[in-house]
């Protein structure tokens, strides 16, 4: 089952909410496609980023009932190829998820 960009954004927002509840991040994040998840301005430190990816993976597995792996290097390459940015934003992660799940 493909996960649309919009659905991926919802799931990402849920992950941020969960990270706040579990005190992995200090304050609530108003998630939009420009929200930085990795790089300057990100509310996530390196441990928070790994936890974010792991939890996002868990939620995508629940959503699709498929074995989904979010490989950080693949996301990075997708980001560089699409945007050549030095940071990773929520919108790019959502696009990556849509592309990753298009053949499910």
């Amino acid at each position: 089952m493909q996960v649309s960009k919009e659905k991926a954004m919802e799931i990402i927002a849920d992950v941020f909410e969960s990270l706040f509840r579990t005190e992995s991040i200090e304050s609530k994040v108003d998630v939009n496609k420009e929200t930085v998840v990795l790089g300057p301005g990100s509310p996530l430190d390196s441990i928070g980023f790994v936890t974010f990816i792991t939890e996002l993976e868990d939620r995508l597995i629940d959503e699709t009932d498929d074995d989904i792996y979010l490989i950080i290097n693949d996301i990075h390459e997708f980001n560089i190829a699409s945007y050549t940015d030095q940071f990773l934003a929520v919108g790019v992660v959502a696009e990556f998820i849509e592309k990753l799940t298009e053949e499910l």
Binding site: T22, I47, V50, T51, T54, E55, D67, Y69
Partner: protein
């Protein structure tokens, strides 16, 4: 969710890994083990998977399968190792060196990485990696094996720092001689030369090794991380 603690042991079909799997089953743990071959260990509390720890993809799938079944991982012991025959460095070819590095360094790296992600989420866990007396003895002919085991120490100490903020500890056991196929592969000459240099010359018993793991995984050891426990040798 099952309340029994969950321990993951690599290299669980033979040698120390097998002994540890049996020990923790008797202690009431749920044990998830792996090896390249099959296991003859039969217990409803034991889950065995045939994987190559040097294959990142296989490791990723294996750890996910454990997470699916048990929902968490309390402790990891990285026992899987490849002990090559004794050879001078100048005689060591890539074909001889690469499986050592792949299993001992990359294998430990991949398993620790995947398990650490789960432990970071649960904000608890104990990781124990395995070095060797070979690191301190600098024996002729052990360059490939000893350098791989030395790398594990460095890797584990760095991982200990990285995971400290989430309450996960990482420690190292450096055993001396435990009678196993892996140690036998080093050859009698190397083993006996090493034995002469040991502080305690008897072979280790499985209970001695498990005692160290018990210490590291105890709740009271929550601030003990990045440490190496040598058995049989004063370093």
């Amino acid at each position: 969710m099952d309340k029994k603690p969950i321990i993951v042991i690599t290299g669980a079909s033979k040698g120390i890994g097998r002994g540890m799997a049996e020990y923790y089953l008797t202690k009431g743990f749920l044990v998830a083990g792996c090896s390249r071959g099959e296991s003859t260990l039969n217990s409803e509390d034991y889950m065995h998977s045939q994987i190559d720890v040097g294959n990142e993809r296989e490791v990723r799938k294996w750890i996910r399968s454990i997470k699916k079944v048990y929902k968490r991982i309390d402790a990891l012991v990285c026992m899987a190792a490849y002990a090559p025959a004794n050879l001078l460095l100048t005689m060591t070819s890539a074909a001889h060196l690469e499986p050592v590095l792949k299993t001992n360094i990359a294998g430990t790296y991949y398993v620790c990485g995947e398990v650490a992600k789960i432990m970071m989420q649960q904000r608890s866990g104990r990781i124990i990696t395995v070095s060797s007396m070979a690191v301190g003895l600098h024996e002729v002919g052990t360059s490939a094996y000893a350098c791989s085991k030395s790398a594990i120490v460095e890797m584990t100490k760095i991982l200990a720092k990285e995971l400290a903020p989430v309450g996960v500890t990482c420690n190292i056991i450096a055993p001396s001689i435990y009678q196993s196929e892996g140690v036998d592969a080093l050859g009698d000459e190397v083993i006996e030369r090493a034995r002469e240099k040991l502080t305690f010359k008897n072979n280790l018993e499985i209970e001695e090794l498990c005692h160290v793991v018990d210490f590291y995984i105890a709740p009271e050891s929550k601030q003990i991380s990045g440490q190496v426990t040598h058995l049989g040798l004063v370093c």
